[in-house]
Amino acid sequence: MGAPFPFDFPLPTAFYLTLYLATLVIHVAFMNYVLAGSAYLAAFAVRHGRDSNRLTDHPLAGPLRDWMPFMLSAAITAGIAPLLFIQILYQRQFYTANLLLFHRWMAILPVLIVGFYLLYLLKSRIIGEASFVWRIVVGCGAFACFAFVAWSWTENHLLSLNESAWSDQYASGRLFFRDPELGPRLAVWFTGAFPTMATIVAWQWWCLARLGRPVPATANQSCTRLALSGLATAIASAAWYVENLAPELRDQLVSSAYRPYLAAALVGVILQAAGWLAGRNQAGLQRGRLVLISAGWLLTVVGVSVLREGRRLAAIDVTALYDLHADAATVGGLAVFLVFAALNAGLIAWCLVTVRRGVRNQAP
């Protein structure tokens, strides 16, 4: 392994890896919003008890409650694209893990449906007028659903990497897979979700401000506090994760193929921290600062996603899969896909512009 990832792989493999990672990053953005957002709302309901409903203009709980159902739709839809590419890249690994976890794996679907309706319930008038205990139940219930889903994806991922465990796992009929990496890995995903969520909420307030909505005075501070504590705990979790990793896996992450990505992730963290810290005492959320933070976020998430792939590739013999990837790359349809991707991206932009114009015209 000399050249940086993915240049050491044959073209088809590198191509599908790139597509997988690019689409996974989109999934991560929305999924983080849902995971951290539902955790925040659950904690908020517990902490503010009876008052939690009167605080509708809370700088975080307000937009979170309002946007959560849409963000979940987006997280699910965005998840479909990496789900497609993972089946080309690691078909046997992914399917086998799915099959071994069986009901436990399939459970994520009803759980997501329940979580979805709980989110709608959380923003509905019914729950606003109900006893605060119900708000706690619904808030914590929604978070439990998404935590379960995150746990399932991580468990499935780890099982897919551990071929030597497959046969035993099957024979035992167990529906859970225990792995020393599971805890620290989930901790990284969970804590890392908060900076993402804070960044997206900050952008939401920025947009609302441009549309003339009053922004609460504490919006900047709340986002900053949440993002910085998320970054700090994510770094601690990452350290815990690396410490639990087998030495040869650790070596892979600092090999020349992955070193640039490790550096990118760290630089990204610094940019994010700098962006948040620089404006922590300011009243508003300035665009320049948000762009800096988002750029840092992108560097971090791309870096971490590639490192995550490095950990996977250290566990499986990818050379045995080259032929399958090359075979997949021979089928037609890519050009048509690109045409429709451009067209539909254009239509999506048109929808957003139309809505913004409409809302502006109606603004008082």
Binding site: F70, S73, A74, I76, T77, G79, I80, A81, L83, L84, F85, Q87, I88, Q91, R92, Y95, T96, N98, L99, L100, F102, W105, M106, L109, L112, I113, F116, Y117, Y120, W166, S167, Y170, A171, G173, L324, D327, A328, V331, G332, G333, L334, V336, F337, F340, A341, L343, N344, A345, L347, I348, W350, C351, L352, T354, V355, R357, G358, V359, N361, Q362
Partner: protein
């Protein structure tokens, strides 16, 4: 040659008393119903919004806003997730089938995905801001939404119809010849009409819940929505076109050669007919009012019709999941020969779950063969149970009929193992029929194995042919 075959074995789960096909069919019904509701709903709302903007329907706008909320609440949530669910279920039932489909059609799915994205953005935009938009933007946003929804049908329809009628793809492996296959257009048009039907019927239910409108206003809305039922008149013709486009043996299963399948088909047609007659005579010609209970009943009929249709669609592909290519039990057509020599489970790395309960290695082998080759369509003593189907057969009948499986019933694949495996399977079935005693003699008579070998050879390794005359078959 046999040694070079590296068969991708997957762990095979036990679905209890259910057949795997039932599981996917069951979820499929919900998904298809909801997805078609979303597609038809888009079209219906475009139409009503247009009527409202032309001044032809004073209450249509209020209805559109109401109906859209329902659409988002139901179809965005459950529709989207049952879609992912279909994918996950397909993996559970037949990883190799979905794997092959993804391999061949991933760009089609990627295209469909861009339409999903458009669908949720335009849909959510309308849901959240529709009431604040001007007329032109509203109509355009709705049009974009329904176009996106309909196109997701367009793309997935190509892949699903390909499974039954892959046509010249089998030789060319060209994506587009697979996609625009012979049943593509009839099933696309058929499903579009079904979508409009479902949406119109659900609309009748929703209109009944709009207490703020008086009965006259509701009747107008109902009759306007019911116009989307008119295309149902084309259904019989489309059905004929569809049946003409599918393979002769599949057609024969549905039209009587397989009794349960025919029953589902009759159910489906019967329900559709009832809806159609009510629609044409009651709603469109007489402009009758339909109350909430009747509307709900009509919706249930539509659901039953969808259910019947989906079972038939899943059923008539047998013995393939991808015609001419991949058998339902995940064995490729070209692999049978190699597996017959090597043994179908010789390399299967997954142990039996309750190996200790079986008294001998031969029975353990038989259980593995059952799991690998038969369990996708049969259970031992639940649905489509082998104990019931073959329980009364003599040992020798079992041997003969399993060795020539594709001729015993042409909707079964050829047996894909060696004679020892066939005998092990026969012994396993006998043992189960005998109520699983703790001891069981090993059967290793050479003459028996030789007879099985002869049966296998006579049956050949190709799929059974329903329409070849037996005499011609023998002379081959």
């Amino acid at each position: 040659m046999p040694d070079s075959l590296v068969f991708p074995y997957y762990p095979i789960n036990d679905f209890g008393p259910a057949m795997k096909g039932m599981v996917i069919g069951g979820l499929g019904i919900f998904h298809v119903f909801l997805a078609q509701f979303a597609i038809g709903g888009g079209l219906l709302m475009c139409y009503l919004e247009w009527l409202s903007q032309c001044g032809k329907s004073p209450d249509a706008r209020r209805f559109v806003d109401n109906f859209f909320k329902l659409l988002v609440l139901i179809s965005f949530v459950v529709g989207a997730l049952t879609g992912v669910g279909m994918w996950f279920t397909s993996i559970q039932v037949s990883p190799r089938t979905i794997g092959l489909m993804v391999g061949e059609f991933h760009w089609i799915w990627a295209i469909e995905w861009t339409f999903f994205c458009l669908e949720i953005v335009s849909g959510y935009a309308f849901y959240r801001y529709g009431e604040r938009l001007d007329d032109r933007s509203r109509l355009r946003l709705l049009a974009v939404y329904s176009l996106a929804a309909w196109f997701s049908l367009f793309w997935i329809n190509g892949i699903l119809s390909w499974q039954l009628t892959p046509g010249s793809w089998v030789e060319t492996r060209n994506v587009w010849s697979g996609f625009f296959n012979s049943s593509f257009w009839p099933s696309l048009i058929f499903r579009t009409i079904v979508s409009m039907t479902i949406a119109a019927l659900v609309a009748c239910v929703v209109i009944n819940t709009m207490g703020a409108l008086d009965r006259a206003a509701r009747t107008v809305l109902i009759n306007q929505s019911a116009r989307l039922l008119t295309p149902m008149l084309a259904m019989p013709l489309l059905g004929l076109w569809y049946f003409a486009s599918i393979p002769a043996d599949s057609r024969a299963w549905a039209l009587g050669a397989n009794v349960p399948m025919m029953m589902f088909l009759v159910l489906s047609i019967g329900m559709s007919l009832m809806i159609g007659l009510y629609a044409v005579f009651g709603l469109i010609r007489q402009k009758l009012y339909v109350n909430g209970a009747t509307a709900t009943l009509l919706c249930s009929l539509a659901f039953a019709a969808t259910a019947g249709g989906e079972f038939v669609r899943e059923g008539v592909r047998k013995p393939f999941t991808i015609r001419e290519t991949l058998y339902s039990n995940s064995i490729r057509r070209g692999e049978v020969e190699a597996l017959r020599e090597k043994g179908s489970v010789t390399d299967d790395p997954y142990p039996l779950r309750h190996a200790d309960a079986l008294p001998s290695d031969q029975l353990r082998l038989g259980a593995k063969v059952f799991r690998f080759q038969c369990s996708v369509c049969h259970t031992l003593d639940g649905a489509n149970a082998l104990v019931h189907l073959a329980g009364a057969w003599s040992t020798e009948q079992k041997r003969v009929n399993i060795a020539r499986l594709q001729r015993t019933k042409t909707f079964m694949p050829p047996f894909a193992g060696n004679p020892e495996e066939c005998e092990a399977l026969v012994q396993y079935l006998e043992w189960v029929v005998a109520d699983s005693p703790t001891t069981w003699p090993v059967s290793d008579d050479r003459a028996v194995l030789a007879r099985i070998q002869q049966g296998l050879q006579e049956a050949g390794t190709q799929p059974g042919e329903m329409f070849t005359h037996p005499a011609r078959r023998e002379s081959r």
